[in-house]
Symmetry: C2
Subunit: 356 residues, 2 copies
DNA sequence: TGCCGATGAACAAACGATTGCGCTAGCCTA
DNA sequence: TAGGCTAGCGCAATCGTTTGTTCATCGGCA
């Protein structure tokens, strides 16, 4: 019921105006339960609070309460739609609880990740969501011994050690590859992620497992490391498609890599899916929009973020370590990049997930 | 040269360990120029600093110095590639200066914008970048009288009043429309933004101006308000394309809206560009990747963010209001959505911009 | 009248860092 | 030997809140 204040008001100033002690204002403002106060004084103070539009200084508050109400999300790059959606999941869960969220991009550089995490520690954020970790990541080790809540998302660092939210990448890689094998493809390539990243490592193992289960040999030459950007995907795809005995289908570690591969296929005059079938991973919104539609493993990206945030918020409120791991089961979405004329069916149910 | 600390160390604890006063530690840690100190003491303290991996408590520091080293970016939705790129621009400029960036999504809701801005004020962020403002926005008025640096990006609220970074939307709308008229289209539609948003209002005026300049009438029935999402663009396009006398070309207020329109065109069996030519605005990365490639007005999105951040940082360092406005000239990029078989040419030079 | 218990609000100590200023030696100089 | 200068630190206030504790006042009751 007031105009916003020009200069931030302090308790002391208000106290002077109301002829009471600052602490009294504070208690009224915070609606201190069990506060005994004269009705006249209370309404006088409340009027003043409205009139000035008093907002407690968050910094001072944070210093006293040892809580900043800030979370941080550390990701490779927010212009990647996967991470943008992930962030939205975090904010959508954090904002209602009164938390703001810092966003830190690392571009996949360990050094930038390290320096960001260090800065966040200094800033005393209440929790960190890390979606850019490597296997055996020293940064994660640092995170562990800090007495601060954190959750690893999508990628983990050491199996079973850290709170984690992600998908079953081994199964996902297997299902994606099995889909291609089921279609009759015999030479199925893999545009792999880095083996230093859990997603890359596990999806590759899934790719191999699918071959084993199908009783088919997996040609090592058909596995090319592709990184995670569209450009690096294109580069790797060019190598793969230029082999003397090229694959007729390929499983890409992420949708972005798959899109890079699709672009290369077009440039090389390969028809999708007739000459080369392509499967991605993550089901980013873009996957359903490109032409041909990209067959991919659906994972609930937004939920990755919101679940991770809730895990963090629980820890912050309860002050317990609460190591929890949530792993969603990925879901094959068949589109035109593997099956000619495939309708884009509405997915049946929400994906299942298991929580330990 | 040390392991990260488990519990954050305080100056007082270090002081006790080094047998000096906390202030001395502080001065050494901050490399206080003009500090006179015995070499022995200095190295003893420095060793201790390294050993413990001391990191000053950012909150306490912020309280004392009245500076948080935090910027905030307020946008409608980070899953929109335009805003994701914008954010990267901000962070890329802010991070080297030691600033972290809060990201707030409003989903275009004035109420969420208001509550976010209020929260940011309480948090005492050092500066705010607002890219979701409306014309005559009360939130912006509040922002103005706060004694805190802010910059409006892409959209402005009241012409000439606020620090601003964006494109010349009037010119952009005109160039986009002129391109279609030059191609011989007589009935050119407009999927317009909201007239309560500067971009929507100006691009629409540009659309009209192009008609005037070409000496052609603009049919009011061909202007349909489309909002800013792909879905709302599709909805509006469906109405537009279903008219008794439909347009043969359309200028969409943003690329996302244009993509929605393109999807609808496909569904309705309209060929692009033969039956319906489409121009977008912003040149998001997606625009060059879809098929057919989307003709659009290129604006330097990443620079929007980095320039805005620099404007903010200047103000923070110099402590001067420094109202500056930077307006980039948009650049027509012709792709297949308007010209059959148009090559995607590398843009010639960087876009010009004018700064007041 | 004297004591007790509420009641209403002030006091003051944190939280951790920064910084202008003051204080104590020691040394030099006159 | 007194006075002054300087190097080397310590002191204490301050930033704005929160919160356990204390203090004064007043009414009621014996």
């Amino acid at each position: 019921m007031s105009s916003a204040n020009e200069m931030p008001v302090t308790l002391k100033e208000l106290a002077a105006r109301a002829n009471v002690h600052p602490s009294t204002i504070s208690r009224v403002a915070n609606n201190d339960p069990g506060l005994r106060i004269a009705t006249a004084t209370r309404s006088r103070i409340e009027a003043l609070l409205r009139e000035t539009g008093y907002q407690p200084n968050g910094i001072a508050r944070g210093l006293k309460l040892r809580q900043t109400n800030v979370l941080a999300v550390v990701i490779p790059d927010v212009t990647n739609p996967f991470f943008a959606a992930l962030f939205r999941g975090v904010e959508d869960a954090a904002a209602p609880a009164g938390f703001n969220v810092l966003l830190c991009n690392t571009d996949g550089l360990p050094e930038r990740q390290r320096s960001h995490l260090q800065g966040l520690q200094a800033r005393r954020v209440d929790g960190v969501i890390l979606a850019s970790s490597f296997l055996k990541d020293p940064s994660v080790r640092d995170l562990r011994r800090q007495q601060r809540p954190y959750v690893l998302v999508n990628r983990f660092s050491d199996e079973g050690e850290d709170p984690f939210v992600g998908s079953d990448d081994l199964l996902g890689g297997q299902l994606a590859t099995a889909h291609l094998l089921d279609l009759g493809h015999v030479r199925v390539g893999h545009l792999a992620g880095k083996s230093t990243v859990s997603t890359g490592w596990l999806r590759r193992r899934g790719y191999l497992a699918a071959h084993t289960l199908a009783g088919l040999p997996a040609d090592p030459n058909l596995i090319v490391e592709a990184g995670y950007t569209e450009e690096s995907g294109a580069l790797a795809a060019r190598r793969l498609f230029s082999l003397a005995d090229p694959p007729t289908a390929v499983f890409a570690v992420t949708d972005m890599v798959a899109l890079g591969a699709a672009e290369v296929a077009r440039q090389m005059g390969l028809r999708i899916p007739q000459d080369i079938a392509i499967v991605g991973y993550n089901d980013i919104p873009l996957a359903g929009r490109v032409s041909p539609g990209l067959t991919t493993m659906h994972v609930p990206i937004h939920e990755f973020g919101s679940v991770a945030a809730r895990l963090l918020l629980e820890q912050i409120e309860s002050d317990e370590p609460a190591r929890r791991r949530v792993r969603f089961t990925p879901d094959l979405i068949v589109r035109e990049s593997t099956v000619l004329g495939a309708a884009s069916p509405a997915r049946a149910a929400r994906p299942m997930f298991s929580a330990e």
